[in-house]
C-alpha cells in the first residue's frame, strides 16, 4: 500500500469541480475548479481558512452533495451519472461519515444509533448487535450501549458517531472537524482512534480540520483558499520513517 504511488488507481478523483450556491446576484462560488485525487489508504487532512470551501468539497466527495460542474469519480465510476438511489447505495456500502455536530438521533440509544447503518443494509438482528457492540468497544464505549446522546458527554457522542461511521467497515471515512467541539485531551483520543483505523485497517480517511495539531496525524495535507486548492503536501517523513 502506498499513498504516494502515482501508478495506483485513484480511489477518489475530482476534476475541475465547482460549486455555486444560490443564483443571480446572490450566487456564491464556494468551489472554483478543484482537482484532487486521493488513493486508497491515504489519510488526508483538509485545511484552510473559514469559508474556503473545505466542507463543501468534503460533502461532494462524500456524495452528500452534488457539484455544479466538473467530474467526480469514485473508484473509477463517474458519480455524476449515478441516480439518487445509486449514490445512496454508494454511501451505504463504501462511505462513513463523522460530522462536526455529531448528528446522532436524539433519545435513541448508542447501540441503536450505531446499528442503524447495518439495519439499512438488511443485516440480521443478532449480527447487527454483535457488530454494533464491537464498534462501540473499538471506540472505548463498551458498557455505554443503552445510553442516549443526552446522557453522553461531547467526546463520547463523537465516539458514538465514529463507531456508527466505521461499523459498516467502509472504504473511506469522511470527517468534518470531528474534534471541533472537543477539548485537546478528548481531541487527541479521537485522533489516535482515527489514526489507528487508518494504520491497522487501511481505512482511507479524509478529514477537515482547523488545527495543525490534528493535521499532524495525517499523511497528507491539502490547503484550501477561496474555493481552490492552494497547496497539497505529503508527510513523507511519516510513511517512510514508520
Amino acid at each position: 500500500m502506498s499513498g504516494t504511488d502515482s501508478t495506483a488507481r485513484p480511489l477518489l478523483e475530482l476534476q475541475g469541480v465547482t460549486k455555486v450556491y444560490g443564483r443571480g446576484a446572490a450566487a456564491m462560488q464556494a468551489l472554483r475548479g478543484v482537482d484532487l485525487r486521493i488513493d486508497a489508504g491515504e489519510f488526508v487532512a483538509v485545511m484552510g481558512p473559514s469559508g474556503s470551501g473545505k466542507s463543501t468539497c468534503l460533502n461532494i466527495l462524500g456524495c452528500l452533495d452534488t457539484p455544479s460542474a466538473g467530474s467526480y469519480r469514485f473508484g473509477g465510476v463517474e458519480v455524476g451519472t449515478l441516480s439518487r438511489n445509486q449514490r445512496a447505495e454508494l454511501r451505504r456500502h463504501y462511505l462513513g461519515f463523522v460530522f462536526q455536530g455529531f448528528n446522532l438521533l436524539n433519545r435513541t440509544t448508542a447501540l441503536e444509533n450505531v446499528e442503524l447503518p447495518l439495519l439499512y443494509r438488511g443485516m440480521h438482528i443478532a449480527e447487527r448487535h454483535r457488530l454494533a457492540r464491537e464498534a462501540l468497544a473499538a471506540v472505548g464505549l463498551a458498557g455505554w450501549e443503552t445510553h442516549t446522546p443526552g446522557e453522553l458527554s461531547g467526546g463520547q457522542q463523537q465516539r458514538v458517531a465514529i463507531a456508527r461511521a466505521i461499523v459498516t467497515a467502509p472504504d473511506v471515512l469522511f470527517a468534518d472537524e470531528p474534534t471541533g467541539n472537543l477539548d485537546s485531551a478528548r481531541s487527541r483520543e479521537i485522533m489516535e482512534l482515527i489514526t489507528a483505523f487508518n494504520r491497522e485497517r487501511g481505512l482511507t480517511i479524509v478529514m477537515v480540520t482547523h488545527e495543525a495539531d490534528m493535521a499532524a496525524f495525517a499523511t497528507r495535507r491539502v490547503h484550501f483558499l477561496d474555493g481552490h486548492i492552494e497547496s497539497d503536501t505529503r508527510a513523507h517523513d511519516f510513511m517512510e520513517t514508520a
Partner: protein, 401 residues
C-alpha cells in the same frame, strides 16, 4: 424492508410518546365524535319511525277549543256522545271512532300514591289506538252499560303503585272511587313529544262521567280512517259536520280542533332528520378540526424531523426506505387512533342511547367513513412532507433548522 420500516416506525413512535399521543388523540376525537353523533341521530330517527308505525291506522284527534298560545286552549263547549256517533254515522271513510274523556287524578294503592290521569273510554279505544292488553281483559258490555268500578292500568302506573306485586283483583282508589284492576296495557314507551304513554288509568266512559266528572261531556273523539282514504278529506268533513252541529256561523272560527296524528309525527320525524343532519354537520366539523390537528402535528414533526431524515440518508438509507418508515408510522398511528375511536364511540353510543332511551342503531358506513378520513389525513400529511424532505440532498436536509 417492511419489517425494517415497522421496526424503525415503532422506535420513532416510542421515542416521541407525546407527539404520538397527540396524533392519536386527534384521530380518536375526530372519529369518535362523528360516529357518536351519527349513531345517536340514527337512533332518534329510528325511534320516530317506529312510533309512526305504532300509530297503525290513520288517526285523527278531535278536541273542543282552539290552541291559543303555548299549551293554552280556549274554553269551548265540550262534545257529547251524539257528536261522536254523528261522525261515525255521517262521514264516509271513517273506520271507527272512540270517544273519551279524561282528567288528572291521584291514584292510591295502600300507602303509595301516584299522580296520573284517568280516562273514560269504551272498548273501541283499543282498536282505534292500536293498543292491546299485556294481560287481563277489556271491559264487558255490562260493565260499560252499568258504569262499574273497574279499571285497566298502564305499565308506569303498575310499576309505581304495585312494584312487583300482582295488580289483578286489587283495588285502586281514584278520588272517592274504589276501582278493581282488571287489565294491564302493553307498554308503549315515550310518545314522539316525549310524554310517557304508559302513565294512565282507563275506566268505562260511563263510570268516568258519573263518578269522576259528574257530566256527560266527551273531551276527545279519536277517529281512525280507512286505509287508502284521504285523511285530509275526512278531516274537512268532520270540520264541516261539527260546525253545523255546533252552530258556528261562517264568519266565526272553529271552536274545536281536528289533529292529524300522522302528520304531526311525520313533521316531528322531519325535525329529527334535520337534527340528525345538524349533528352530522357538527360531527363533520369536529372531524375536520381533528384532521387539521393531525395535519399540524404531522407537518411540525416532519419539519422537526428533516434533520433526522438527513442523518438517515447520509448513512445510506434510500429515499424509499425513509418514506416507508414514515408511511408505516402514519398508518400505525392512524389505525391505532381510528380503532380506539371506534371502540370508544360505540361504547359511548350504547350508553348514551340507553340514557336518552332511544335505540342503538349501528351504522357501519359512518364507522368506515370516519376511519378512512382520519387515516387518510394522517397518511397524507405524514407522508407527503416526508417525501419532500427525503428528496433533498442529504446535506440540505442536515442543514435544515
Amino acid at each position: 424492508m417492511v419489517w425494517n420500516a415497522l421496526l424503525l416506525a415503532l422506535r420513532e413512535i416510542r421515542r416521541n410518546v407525546l407527539r404520538s399521543f397527540l396524533t392519536i388523540l386527534g384521530i380518536v376525537i375526530g372519529v369518535a365524535a362523528v360516529i357518536v353523533m351519527v349513531t345517536l341521530g340514527g337512533g332518534a330517527t329510528a325511534q320516530v319511525t317506529a312510533q309512526i308505525a305504532s300509530l297503525g291506522t290513520n288517526l285523527l284527534m278531535v278536541r273542543p277549543g282552539q290552541r291559543m298560545g303555548f299549551g293554552q286552549m280556549s274554553t269551548a263547549a265540550q262534545f257529547d256522545l251524539a257528536d261522536a256517533e254523528a261522525i261515525e254515522r255521517e262521514i264516509r271513510s271513517v273506520l271507527a271512532i272512540a270517544p273519551a274523556s279524561s282528567a288528572p287524578t291521584t291514584a292510591v294503592f295502600g300507602n303509595r300514591n301516584w299522580s296520573t290521569s284517568i280516562t273514560g273510554i269504551d272498548n273501541r279505544y283499543f282498536g282505534v289506538r292500536n293498543w292491546t292488553l299485556a294481560s287481563g281483559r277489556e271491559f264487558t258490555a255490562s260493565e260499560l252499560r252499568a258504569g262499574s268500578s273497574v279499571c285497566i292500568i298502564g305499565a308506569t302506573v303498575r310499576k309505581e303503585l304495585f312494584g312487583a306485586q300482582d295488580p289483578f283483583g286489587n283495588k285502586l282508589r281514584l278520588e272517592k272511587l274504589s276501582c278493581e284492576v282488571i287489565g294491564l296495557l302493553q307498554a308503549k314507551g315515550q310518545s314522539t313529544m316525549g310524554s310517557d304513554q304508559d302513565d294512565l288509568v282507563l275506566m268505562p266512559l260511563r263510570t268516568f262521567q258519573r263518578r269522576i266528572a259528574g257530566t256527560q261531556d266527551i273531551g276527545l273523539i279519536q277517529v281512525s280512517v280507512r286505509d287508502g282514504a284521504s285523511t285530509e278529506q275526512v278531516k274537512q268533513d268532520i270540520e264541516e259536520l261539527l260546525r253545523t252541529r255546533r252552530h258556528i256561523s261562517p264568519s266565526e272560527d272553529d271552536d274545536f280542533q281536528v289533529l292529524d296524528m300522522k302528520e304531526i309525527t311525520q313533521m316531528l320525524a322531519g325535525t329529527t332528520q334535520v337534527l340528525t343532519a345538524l349533528l352530522g354537520a357538527v360531527a363533520a366539523v369536529s372531524l375536520l378540526v381533528g384532521g387539521i390537528g393531525i395535519m399540524n402535528i404531522m407537518l411540525v414533526s416532519v419539519t422537526e424531523r428533516t434533520r433526522e431524515i438527513g442523518i438517515r440518508l447520509a448513512i445510506g438509507a434510500l429515499e424509499r426506505e425513509v418514506l416507508m418508515q414514515f408511511l408505516v408510522e402514519a398508518v400505525v398511528l392512524a389505525a391505532f387512533g381510528g380503532l380506539t375511536g371506534i371502540v370508544l364511540a360505540l361504547a359511548a353510543s350504547v350508553v348514551l342511547a340507553d340514557l336518552m332511551s332511544i335505540p342503538f342503531v349501528f351504522n357501519p358506513g359512518i364507522v368506515v367513513l370516519a376511519f378512512l378520513f382520519s387515516a387518510a389525513v394522517g397518511v397524507i400529511f405524514g407522508f407527503f412532507p416526508a417525501r419532500k424532505a427525503a428528496r433533498l440532498d442529504p446535506i440540505e436536509a442536515l442543514r435544515h433548522e
